[in-house]
Amino acid sequence: MTARPAGRDVALMATCLCDAFFDDVARASVQVLEHLGCRVAVPADQTCCGQPAYNAGEWDAARRVARHAMRVFEGEGPVVTPSGSCARMLSHGAAAMFEREPDRGAAERLAARVWELSDYIVNGLGVTAWGGRFEGSLAFHRSCHSRGTACAEAALTLLSSIPGLRIVEIGETEQCCGFGGLFSTTFPRLSREIGALKLAELRSASADAVVSADMGCLMHLDGLARRERRPVRTLHVVQVLRDALRLEGSGAAS
């Protein structure tokens, strides 16, 4: 497998969730990448990676959205996204959907340029230690889409190098949070029950907040917890990185 393109000219795929709900995570991604000396392009026509349709088995619809992404992110350089799940969709999911399609080559070319954000910082830019300071303990939630990729290890590498920050491992770490995208709407009870188990593990870890590299998981856990009237603090890895350095916009973690 050829190496993915790296370098400091990057395109950012903000993700539809950040576009709609988590603008601070998208902002932090830009700020952190610029802090590392990157020029960050954010194509205005971007929308989504197509995962909801892929999960639903509506592959014609999913391909339509993926093709739009292929057009929007046309180019040679790295495409970075603060979401392990979107990164996986554009690589693995696209491979399955475009297997028999005439533009399979174009899908493969985009797949070969996609990086999850922590993975990019550590393995694309070679940054293995973060500086600054972050007081407190964070429970790290490994999202399932990071399985078999470098992104969870990359995130932990960065977080555990921040002075003052204590990473807390949680029990049954291999168990999913129960989001599963579409699953949370097609099997809402099971999704909630699985999420409740994860919340119990998180709470017994007694950390100040939960940190993850996937807003899908955090949105799900946060939504369940607030409905229970027992909210938990949730943070994206990139928000912690920004706040540790007191970059502009910091404050999500205080």
Partner: protein, 462 residues
């Protein structure tokens, strides 16, 4: 209650049952983790190797079936093919009736459940007794197993004790040792009075023609030692190339299933009993079953046929743990069942179309699978198949969404418009958020905020 069948079944079970399944599954997974870490220097390498061996067999199954048949015949076994469940039942019934067998003892085999053998034999006046303790309890209760390795993972000792009492197996006693002793005594008489034995097989060696049975209780040993006629029903996908390759699978199977190095008994059977041996069958039949497997082989999910029925995927699956096996309404529950059941059912997925959706695609099953089956990649393919079978109207929502997501101007307008929705009361928003709103407080709508920030900076603002 609305929702997919699997969700409704899951909701209908009691908390006690749910806890039994969840804790039993977790214990199985933890035992597996300990055994893998202790004994295997490269567990993932071994799983991938086993997966490649199986994939090789599947993609050369025509050759291997032919070879396995010849070698088994050379050991003195009689080999039969069965295209479907009905053919398998017919073959087995014929063998038994030709022997005048009225009482059969059966060792645990999912395939016999798949072809619904016991009911068919009972109809023909042939008693068919389950000898695996869990399956024995299931049979007494007229229940169904809920796990492929631990059939009564969903029951507690009190339920089992009540079952035994209800069937005249002694006064109520829920001590596991007492329950086991009673089953030992009762089933011993059944073995000794039986005319024939039916088993499955975990593997068939195409090199030596040996069939391999992996058990802990000693029930299959007793079935074969006490009777004169052995019928083994085996799926055509159970073949391995050589005896040497059995080492790879035997090193993985028990560790994956229960955390043991090997189960208490591994039987390598090559035809009828040896010369000079007073006990054992004089007649061995192997029924090679298709029943939809060739169909699966022809499709885009053929990797599922690598499965060696260890149950590790069930043990780790968050959905299985919460829903339990019965929610899958099938012989094969859990992640493997979510793929195999709809595929074996035939050309259309109807009736099982909720199973491929009953997953977060977390991939934990793939990580523990001893033959490296990428179940989280197979499930979306099945979802695509289910989507093609549905009426086009049901895809309208996703269709409209995909149009929005490929029309940037409309997308940006929707981001802005969402702010209006945000102004509505929280309770209304929750209800209008559909299934999401049932259990979640939705996040605040911030559509357009990131893009405005980008615009401001590019104008030198922020």
């Amino acid at each position: 209650m609305k929702g997919p069948p699997l969700e409704r079944y899951a909701a209908a079970q009691g908390a006690e049952r749910r806890d039994s399944v969840r804790l039993g599954s977790k214990a199985g997974h933890d035992a597996r983790s300990v055994a893998f870490a202790r004994d295997l220097s490269d567990p993932d390498g071994l799983r991938v190797l086993a997966g490649r061996i199986k994939q090789h067999v599947l993609e050369h199954l025509d050759t291997y079936l032919d070879q396995a048949e010849r070698r088994m015949t050379a050991t003195g076994a009689e080999v039969h093919f069965a295209a479907d469940a009905q053919a398998a039942r017919r073959v087995i019934a014929t063998i038994l009736e030709r022997r005048g067998a009225r009482r059969v003892v059966k060792a645990k085999t999912m395939v016999s459940e798949e072809i619904e053998l016991a009911a068919h034999l009972e109809e023909r006046g042939i008693e068919c007794v389950e000898t695996d303790l869990g399956e024995f309890v299931v049979q007494l209760d007229r229940d169904r197993p809920s796990h492929i390795v631990k059939p009564i993972i969903h029951k507690n000792r009190r339920e089992v004790a009540a079952t035994f009492e209800g069937h005249g197996l002694g006064a109520y006693d829920d001590t596991p040792e007492v329950i086991t002793r009673r089953a030992r005594a009762f089933l011993r008489r059944k073995y000794l009075d039986a005319d024939a034995a039916v088993t499955g097989a975990n593997f068939v060696s195409a090199e030596s023609g040996r069939i391999v049975l992996v058990t802990n209780e000693g029930n299959s040993r007793f079935c074969l030692a006490a009777t004169r006629c052995h019928v083994a029903v085996v799926g055509i996908e159970k073949i391995v190339p050589t005896d040497r390759d059995l080492a790879v699978f035997l090193n993985l199977l028990a560790r994956s299933a229960t955390g043991q190095r090997l189960t208490a008994y591994t039987e390598l059977i090559a035809g009828p009993r040896g010369p000079g041996q007073p006990d054992g069958p004089d007649e061995v039949h192997v029924v090679l079953l298709d029943n939809g497997r060739a169909d699966v082989l022809s499709g885009d999910c053929r990797e599922i046929l690598r499965c060696i029925r260890c149950g590790a995927c069930l043990n780790v699956c968050p959905v299985y743990r919460q829903a339990s096996g019965h929610a899958y309404r099938s012989v094969y529950p859990g992640p493997v069942g979510a793929v195999l059941t709809p595929l074996l059912a035939g050309r259309r997925l109807t009736g099982w179309s909720d199973l491929p959706g009953a997953s977060t695609l977390c991939g934990a099953c793939h990580e523990v699978c001893p033959v490296d089956i990428p179940i989280e990649e197979l499930l979306p393919r099945l979802r695509a198949r289910a989507a093609r079978e549905r009426a086009p109207a049901s895809a309208a929502g996703i269709g409209a969404w995909s149009l929005l997501a490929s029309t940037p101007a409309a997308w940006r307008a929707a981001l802005a418009a969402g702010a209006l929705f945000e102004a509505l009361p929280a309770s209304f928003r929750s209800r209008a958020s559909g299934p999401w709103g049932e259990h979640h407080d939705p996040p605040a709508w911030r559509g357009g905020a990131f893009r405005r920030w980008l615009d401001e900076r590019s104008r030198g603002g922020a």
